[in-house]
Subunit: 408 residues, 2 copies
């Protein structure tokens, strides 16, 4: 029951019905491939005649192709249809504090090439360097002129509409225009997005069996900070100022531990990797410099190691991990009470110890959730796909092909 926005609507033309049905057909083929025209017609509840025309148009536009002939118990054998994906390439990049990742993949997220190097922090040099690597990668992979776009993922707040990076503390970037500069330097259409939201997009568009997945969910990545992406009705929620989903800094405890953002008691200050390690080492957060986590990293001791110690019988490590888990649950309770999503996906180093943390996490959740049904909200550790952020960057480019047409 959506209200029509009378200041921004889309009148239906003669071609609107076709447009709608073509998109539906494309998505059904994507999720049930290989599939015949007749089967498609049955799934859409239209005649085979209509399905045939839709398929013809999708083939002409290069979105699908005819494959082998299938088997049938009786009657004429069907010709199978497939979505054209393996030769439709996109570029994806992920800028992090330590490293920058660049991947060439197809629109279903299958990797063709990958390159990793130390992050360049100066925006101008960053763009120049990245553009050069892009050109080289496209040349080596013989993909010049055959790349449909470039998705860039950044740890920070991003205005996806204008492509400006509003604030990325880990990189020291503030109000930097990366999209247009990168587009000019590479000749590609560039999309920029925040890391947490990108992961949610990857989950929505690229996960296997995504058709059967929920259309309203929250994706939570707990690592240096807490990255969150909120998808409602198959649509990423970005918000008026592009900050929607910033659950990391909601307070659990106004007088609680100091957060890197300068405030006290943020959820992030209770559950980030730094918070978990601090519990183990007895660090005093309010006296730590913002770079302490990277010091710990340099000492090459991360949450993954802490989980390993907890697993091998270190009671103090187990205690630290489970304490974090309880606070994770308490924060999730607010998310459940407020957004009441179909599913919550969890990611981050600490989820490697899911068997250790599930019980205290669910206890924390149950402690503050309002109904029994809500306490049973499915929690799923994000499937172990590699590079969810890069896949999200790819989804930025792939999604428009498959998305519902804008209507009414």
């Amino acid at each position: 029951m959506r209200k029509i926005n009378t200041r921004d609507f889309q009148v239906a033309t003669r071609g609107t019905s076709r447009e709608i049905n073509r998109r539906i057909a494309l998505n059904l083929i994507r999720e049930h491939q290989p599939i015949s025209r007749a089967d498609l017609a049955r799934r859409m509840s239209v005649t085979r005649g209509v399905a045939g025309v839709l398929v013809q148009e999708l083939i002409e536009r290069g979105l699908i192709y005819e494959g082998a002939t299938g088997e049938a118990a009786r009657g004429r054998k069907p010709t199978f249809l497939h979505v054209r994906a393996h030769d439709r390439l996109v570029l994806a990049a992920d800028v992090r504090f330590s490293k920058t990742y660049l991947m060439l993949c197809d629109i279903s997220g299958r990797q063709h090439a990958l390159e990793v190097w130390d992050t360049v922090f100066d925006p101008a040099r960053f763009v120049k360097d990245l553009a050069a690597r892009v050109r080289r990668m496209l040349k080596i992979q013989r993909a010049e002129g055959n790349c449909e776009g470039f998705g860039l993922v950044v740890p920070g707040m991003v205005d996806h509409r204008t492509g400006r990076i509003l604030n990325a503390p880990a990189l020291g970037w503030r109000d930097v225009d990366v999209r247009d500069r990168l587009a000019a330097a590479t000749g590609l259409s560039v999309q920029v997005e925040n890391a947490g939201r990108a992961c949610a997009l990857a989950q929505l568009w690229l996960e296997h069996g995504a058709g059967a997945g929920p259309h309203s969910f929250v994706y939570i990545n707990v690592s240096d900070g807490v990255g969150v992406g909120y998808v409602h009705n198959g649509e990423l929620v970005r918000g008026r100022d592009h900050i929607a989903g910033e659950f990391g800094h909601m307070p659990l405890d106004l007088g609680g531990p100091r957060c890197l953002c300068g405030r006290q008691g943020c959820w992030e200050a209770h559950v980030s990797n730094l918070a978990t390690l601090s519990r183990y080492f007895g660090w005093n957060l309010s006296k730590l410099s913002p770079n302490s986590l990277h010091e710990a990293e340099r000492k090459s001791f991360a949450v993954t190691d802490l989980v390993a110690r907890a697993r091998s019988g270190d009671a103090k490590a187990l205690g630290a991990v489970r304490a974090t888990a309880r606070f994770m649950g308490l924060g999730l309770a607010t998310i459940v009470n407020v957004l009441n999503p179909d599913t919550i996906y969890l990611a981050g180093e600490i989820t490697a110890g899911w068997d250790l943390i599930e019980e205290p996490l669910r206890a924390g959740l149950a402690e503050r959730v309002l109904t029994d049904a809500a306490a049973r909200t499915p929690l799923r550790v994000s499937s172990a796909h590699e590079y969810p952020r890069l896949r999200g960057a790819a989804a930025l480019i792939a999604a428009p092909t498959f998305a519902a047409p804008r209507v009414a």
Copy 2:
């Protein structure tokens, strides 16, 4: 950029384009009435021929009517079109702890009749009594057989799809089916919804100039508890278990004051009328019975009186009101960080003292909001329309006439 749900989609038929454009036309007429066919055609960017057909069909369906002839500087004078509203009646009821309200109004929310009486708490007797009053009201108003539906608003969690009231502590109702019983007793189609969400619906569908209003907003009503409705993209967010929007019980302070829900530190426990009065009278919340608020009511001293005292120079009253305002701002900060709505509407007794509370409220908001832009999120005290909950109940029935058709 919405993903098509392949398990629940709507194929376009021959009539889909017409359906879409008819709805757009209806909404444009509603928001710009009186309006001519030619003007409608210009606003829709279609030819006058198409607009003429759409208008003809809307007239045949009884949704609009032709009114007077307008004036024009030159040329043939236009015939004005209006949405038919004044003779399309709906019933709206609002059940509260003290009183139950029943209103007969038209689909634009204009009141025709109103009745108020002491709430009956036994569900069976409640339904029987309410149905009798409905019949009488329809008879007196000569509206029998001319009422398009019945919207019921309840203080508690409601499964809008099945019409079951899951939990309404103020009424002592738990898992009660009211909709079907009420539908059987009155012969009307009945819709049930939670109070906070109903207010949001009223704001979305019935406010004057709603066409110019935001399509993503949060409506917050602070009174006995905190009622919230969240509208995203012109659509009310209800959630998997129909609890979405329960911001009242997010923690500000895990060790904070005890809440009526049994937990500690909920936002509601900091800002409800009971919390505000407790600050003034020095009550100890953890020792209060759940009915303390009603005791205060019986003493006929409410937050409205507290605001009056604050205004007349009672420093302690002013302090209590402003302390609540700061906590309201702190909670709003989480809402802004998480949903980042276009606008936040505020309602409740304490907003009567908006000039007193705006400054500490905005200070609390700024304290925890992540960007300057977000701190500037428009806060608007809900326009002083009477009975927002009853108007919300009416909107439950009126909305389907104007909502966007389901497509793709």
